[in-house]
């Protein structure tokens, strides 16, 4: 169990918590035991003063039981959270090597839930599994030892009941719950997908008057689910009853076995109540164990989901020769490049050749699935490849990834804006940039007037994922951050995807302006403004099918020219729209 090793980081605190918990649990047993003895002794009518010690003990145990429990919970949680931090560090360190290509097979939502919610579940391991079990075992051993000394028969009876309560009951409950879950989960999934389908298609259902049918559909699967849940309810409810029976049997058996000893004078009568009450109190501590068996199942499932992520194969091997970082002049040379997105997927690049001279700007265009993003991943050192890719005089497979990225950088469609200030976001590009430099960059990317509207200027918080910003503003901020990093080679992978046409045009304009003189690779499927680039390469199905200037490609009448015509049509439509006042109609003048 690998998650456990990180959670064990703080062994001393965890041990302390366990010890405090043991004291609390032992106090609970001792409280009832001492009370029973006190009353039995008092029944023999000794002088009142003789009760003194027992009376003090009773009050002390009442106090220590709750004080130690409170302390245990605080120390235990403290240790667990320390372990969680360690675990997060471990997971992050591993992810850092995998991202982004090694994580591509997980959807974003799935990945975040595995790495945040599932990692957090590790807290249950010390708090809900280890500590309760350790205490229950320790107190059971103590109780049994004490009873064995008092009366062997009672001791053995209690030992059996407690042993069953420690093992069989939690195992059985967890087993039954797992069985019920295995039967319920598929139906629950079916209900869920039927509900989701009805919600997603609600407009279609309403428009075609079929909401009744959809409701009946949900009702039918829900009825099935309810029927199975009814059948499983008996086994789910069994844990409550099992505990009570075992506890009762333990008490009665201990009592029955100790009775002859009292009658024969081997055991003083004052101890009989103790023999009955101590197992009663001890078993109380075992009532949480079925729940902790379930918690253990949950932790294991979560751990498996996390391990599946962090054990993904590394997308790039570490360099063997370890050349230093690329050196000037910063040219890019690609020869016979073949690459695939993951080891078991087909090739997406079938031997392409490409050259970018220092300061040259080229466009890579083509339909989706042409291998454009694979090329970007290779250039950034995120993906292993066959063939040759030379950046700044170095074959990049022999360059450490971080060294390579001091030279090549990338802007994608979903550059992340961190939930902090504008300044802190920019500082990720250059930790030592001063305010003037930042303001200059924001002005270059056209965010100057936006910044002026921000209440706290550079110190304004942008919110989670940059929610306070529009899509275009986010991309511009990411661009400014990248420019602050001053990398000699810049790669853009569909930077305007998800933006509306006007915003996309404006961003493309800014982007082409600020990269003037920098070696640039612009991957896009929009052709507008590409005539400002030095050269355009058309990539289809992993192969370079054409290359040249905008004019040359238009003359060739291939994919590029087709695509250009389609974009022009859109422009025509926009022009027609603009000639009609908004909110009104024009009628055909002639047919």
């Amino acid at each position: 169990m690998r998650m456990w090793s990180a959670m064990r980081a703080d062994r001393r605190r965890l041990l302390l918590a366990g010890f405090l918990g043991f004291l609390a649990s032992a106090s609970a047993v001792a409280l009832l035991g001492t009370s029973g003895w006190l009353i039995s002794f008092a029944a023999e009518m000794p002088p009142v003063l003789a009760l003194g010690v027992a009376a003090v003990l009773v009050r002390t145990f009442a106090l220590t039981r709750s004080v130690f429990r409170y302390a245990e919970r605080l120390v235990g949680h403290d240790a667990a959270f320390r372990g969680l931090t360690r675990l997060r560090e471990d997971v992050y360190a591993r992810l850092e090597r995998l991202a982004p290509v090694g994580l591509a097979r997980f959807t974003r939502g799935d990945l975040l839930s595995r790495l945040v919610a599932d990692v957090d579940t590790a807290l249950d391991l010390p708090l809900r599994v280890v500590l309760p079990w350790a205490q229950a075992v320790a107190v059971s051993v103590g109780t049994v030892a004490f009873l064995l000394w008092l009366n062997p028969g009672a001791g053995v009876a209690t030992a059996i009941a407690l042993a069953l309560g420690l093992t069989l009951v939690p195992w059985l409950v967890a087993r039954l719950a797992a069985r019920a879950e295995a039967r319920l989960a598929p139906l629950r999934g079916e209900v869920s997908s039927t509900v989701v389908a009805s919600l997603a298609g609600s407009s279609d259902l309403l428009a075609y008057g079929a909401t009744g049918a959809a409701l009946q559909r949900v009702r039918a699967v829900d009825d099935e689910l309810t029927a199975v849940a009814r059948r499983e309810s008996a086994s789910l409810g069994v844990s409550a009853g099992l505990g009570i029976v075992l506890q009762g049997v333990a008490v009665v058996a201990a009592l029955a076995l100790a009775m002859p000893a009292v009658t024969s004078g081997q055991l003083e009568p004052v101890w009989l109540a103790v023999v009955a009450l101590v197992p009663l109190a001890a078993y109380d501590l075992l009532t949480t164990l079925p729940a902790s068996a379930l918690a253990l199942q949950r932790v294991r499932a979560s751990a498996a989901r996390v391990v599946e992520v962090i054990d993904s194969p590394l997308p790039v091997a570490d360099p063997v020769d370890r050349l230093g970082p690329p050196v000037a002049p910063y040219a890019v040379g690609v020869r016979d490049l073949r690459a695939r997105w993951s080891p078991d997927s087909p090739l997406t690049l079938h031997g392409i050749d490409l050259a970018v001279a220092p300061g040259e700007r080229i466009g890579i265009v083509g339909p989706s699935g042409a291998g454009k993003s694979t090329l970007a991943a290779v250039l950034l050192g995120f993906l292993s490849y066959d063939g040759a890719v030379v950046v700044g005089g170095r074959e990049i497979r022999e360059v450490d990834g971080d060294d390579l990225r001091t030279c090549v950088t990338l802007l994608t469609q979903d550059a992340h804006v961190f939930d902090t200030t504008i300044e802190a976001n920019l500082r990720l590009g250059d930790a030592h940039a001063d305010h003037d430099e930042m303001l200059r960059m924001l002005e270059r990317v056209g965010l100057h007037s936006w910044l002026e509207q921000q209440p706290d200027g550079l110190a304004t918080q942008v919110g989670s994922g940059g929610v306070t910003m529009s899509g275009g503003e986010r991309q511009r901020l990411a661009l400014a951050r990248l420019l602050l990093a001053h990398r000699p080679i810049m790669v853009f992978d569909e930077p305007t995807e998800h933006l509306d046409p006007a915003t996309a045009d404006a961003l493309t304009d800014v982007l082409l302006e600020v990269t003037e003189g920098t070696s640039t690779v612009l991957i896009t499927h929009r052709l507008r403004d590409l005539d400002r680039l030095d050269r355009i390469v058309v990539l289809i199905s992993g192969e370079v099918v054409a290359s040249g200037t905008h004019e040359e490609l238009l003359a060739e009448d291939g994919w590029y020219a087709d695509r250009w015509r389609a974009e022009t049509e859109q422009a025509d439509l926009a022009a027609l729209t603009a000639s009609i006042p908004a909110g009104t109609a024009i009628r055909r003048s002639s047919r």
């Binding site: 008092a42 029944a43 009376a55 403290d78 909401t211 009592l255 994922g465 109609a585």
Partner: protein, 594 residues
């Protein structure tokens, strides 16, 4: 949080019977607890005082076992019953909510955040299991058992009864006070906490960006720092929030200790019998136990009730009133006058004032920028969205003794919709059947439930998708998954178009019907639309391709009024002329009469 929300009884009817039975079981349980304490103390005392040995105690011990077994059975029944009720109640809530959401229509909660609603209706209300199975039964026990215990103890020893009767309310009052005192502090700290836990999520989500910037390794240290702050803040919260359970445990154990010590002293003085004393000692902790359990399960229960509360809020959203007129004339014209739509909670309108007429036998093209309200116009015409301003008038309705234009809101929406075929931008292929998988044929049959398989093939043909569907292994009986999976996006659209074309309608509303289609398919769709218009149907089509404009009899521009609206007529004329020149220069739309 209300311990038992009365709305739960109203909306999840199976809860009612459950509450009654659980209370009855609770009463039986309390009696059994008292009897078993009595039997246990008797068995001990008789032997300890030498009045009995094992042989004579056997009937008492067997009785004790029987009572304990009965307690176990009741605990079992009660929990099993809770799981059954919970399953039923969840289904009831789910169906009621879904029904209501579908009635509220697309401006309701489902359109605001469909993912959230779906999660609420499935995993969200699953948290009710803990509420029913653990919390509610303990809550009833916490009300019944202490009263039963006190009532019993009064009969034996007034002092002990008083100690229990006084400490119990004190515990409750203390817990409420501590809860109130700590709530604002806890709330404040939870806010810091959720911010801190958001940091880790932020780092993971931004990992590719950090790596590109060469910052990823340095951030590892930040995780440690954030983790430390997260922990210290959490501990701050926990120190406070553990206080209430600390107070509960402390007071409960101290009162048991107090009972034990006072009884002990009076035993010595001979003021009480040994058997009574032991009986009270065994019984006293039972009075506090259910209360401790309630505290233990409070959080799990709160989660379920929180989800239920969200469902209730949803159920209590009023359904907008609808009209009831069904005497709609054949092939009506529809007049749209200054129509605007502003979605609830939004500031800027989704649709700016728009005026145009839809006439039978004509194709009306709707153009405008994305997000300008084109799809909204279609949804208003369908009666899925109510206008915020302006009107939609259906012409030629009878009124009194004359003929008049009648507002769309006066018509019965389900009746009006039988006259409309609609292809939304992202169609969902759903079946009119109540069970079974959805096939392509089912999806088309939604448009006309009595359609024969030949009608369906003809409609698919008109939509230009018949050959593609019939080349699939199962042809029109191909099963389509959620959201139309198994078909390409273009095929889903054309099947949805077939669904609209098969419907005997007066009005066709089509949202970009030729998106994702190649040239040949587009031509097929366009000729189908032209044929529909020629047969007298009014066709309204949101157009994003010039080919659709070419068959249009009128073009409506839907969008925000821009600067040109504020220009003088001369300036506007100049701009229009410029646009005309621009268009002729580009060429594709010239010569089509625009």
């Amino acid at each position: 949080m209300k311990p038992l929300d009365p709305r739960l009884l109203r909306y999840a009817r199976s809860t009612r019977g459950f509450v009654i039975i659980t209370v009855l079981l609770g009463v039986v349980m309390a009696v059994l607890v008292i009897i078993s304490a009595r039997l246990l103390s008797t068995a001990i005392v008789e032997v300890a005082q030498g009045r009995a040995d094992l042989a004579t105690s056997i009937p008492v011990l067997l009785g004790l076992l029987a009572i304990i077994s009965a307690r176990a059975v009741i605990a079992w029944i009660s929990e099993a019953l809770a799981y059954r009720t919970s399953a039923r109640a969840k289904a009831e809530l789910r169906e009621a909510a879904l029904d209501h959401i579908l009635t509220l229509g697309p401006t309701g909660p489902a359109s605001v955040d469909p993912g959230r609603v779906a999660t609420l209706l499935t995993r969200g209300i699953d948290a009710l299991d803990a509420y029913y199975a653990r919390y509610l039964p303990q809550l009833f026990l916490a009300m019944i058992v202490p009263i039963a215990v006190i009532a019993t103890v009064i009969g034996f020893d007034l002092v002990s009864a008083l100690i229990i009767a006084i400490t119990l309310p004190i515990i409750v009052v203390f817990m409420i006070l501590i809860g109130l005192y700590t709530r604002t502090r806890v709330d404040r700290q939870w806010q810091t906490l959720s911010r801190l836990s958001g940091h880790f999520l932020d780092l993971i989500a931004g990992l590719p960006t950090l790596k590109v910037l060469g910052r990823a390794k340095k951030q590892a240290q930040a995780i440690g720092d954030i983790g430390d702050r997260y922990r210290s803040t959490t501990m701050g919260v926990l120190r406070v929030s553990f206080l209430s359970s600390f107070a509960l445990e402390l007071l409960a154990s101290l009162s048991v200790a107090l009972v034990a010590v006072t009884i002990g002293v009076r035993l010595v003085e001979g003021g009480i019998a040994f058997s009574t004393a032991l009986f009270i000692l065994i019984l006293a902790p039972e009075a506090y136990l259910p209360l401790r359990m309630v505290g233990q399960h409070f959080h799990a229960a709160a989660e379920g009730l929180g989800a239920a509360d969200e469902v209730f809020t949803l159920l209590e959203q009023p359904v907008p009133a609808t009209g009831d007129r069904t005497d709609i004339p054949a092939r009506p014209s529809v007049l749209i006058e200054g129509l605007t739509v502003t979605y609830p909670g939004r500031e800027s309108p989704a649709l700016h004032p728009t005026t145009f007429t839809i006439d039978p036998g004509e194709v009306t093209a709707v153009v405008g920028p994305s997000g300008g309200g084109k799809s909204t116009v279609l949804r208003v015409l369908l009666g899925l969205i109510a206008p915020s301003g302006g009107r939609v008038l259906v012409r030629g309705m009878t009124a009194g003794d004359g003929v008049r234009d009648v507002d769309l809101t006066e018509l019965a929406p389900e009746h009006w919709r039988t006259r409309i075929g609609w292809v939304p931008q992202e169609p969902h292929l759903v079946s009119p059947a109540t069970t079974g998988a959805t096939t392509v044929a089912d999806a088309v049959r939604l448009g006309r439930p009595d359609a024969s398989i030949e009608d369906i093939r003809a409609a698919l043909d008109a939509a230009g998708v018949r050959d593609e569907i019939e080349s699939l292994p199962d042809g029109v009986r191909t099963v389509i998954g959620e959201g139309g999976s198994g078909l390409s996006a273009g095929q889903v659209r054309r099947v949805a178009l077939a669904r609209a074309l098969i419907r005997p309608v007066d009005l066709l509303l089509l949202d970009e019907p030729t998106a994702a289609l190649d040239g040949a398919s587009e031509a097929a769709v366009i000729s189908a639309l032209r044929a529909a218009a020629q047969s007298g149907v009014a066709v309204v089509v949101v157009a994003h391709r010039p080919a659709l404009i070419e068959i249009a009899d009128a073009v409506v521009h839907v969008g925000a009024p821009d600067l040109t609206e504020r220009l003088s007529p001369t300036e506007r004329e100049l701009l229009a002329a410029e646009a005309q020149v621009d268009r002729s220069a580009r060429g594709t739309l010239t010569g089509s009469g625009w």
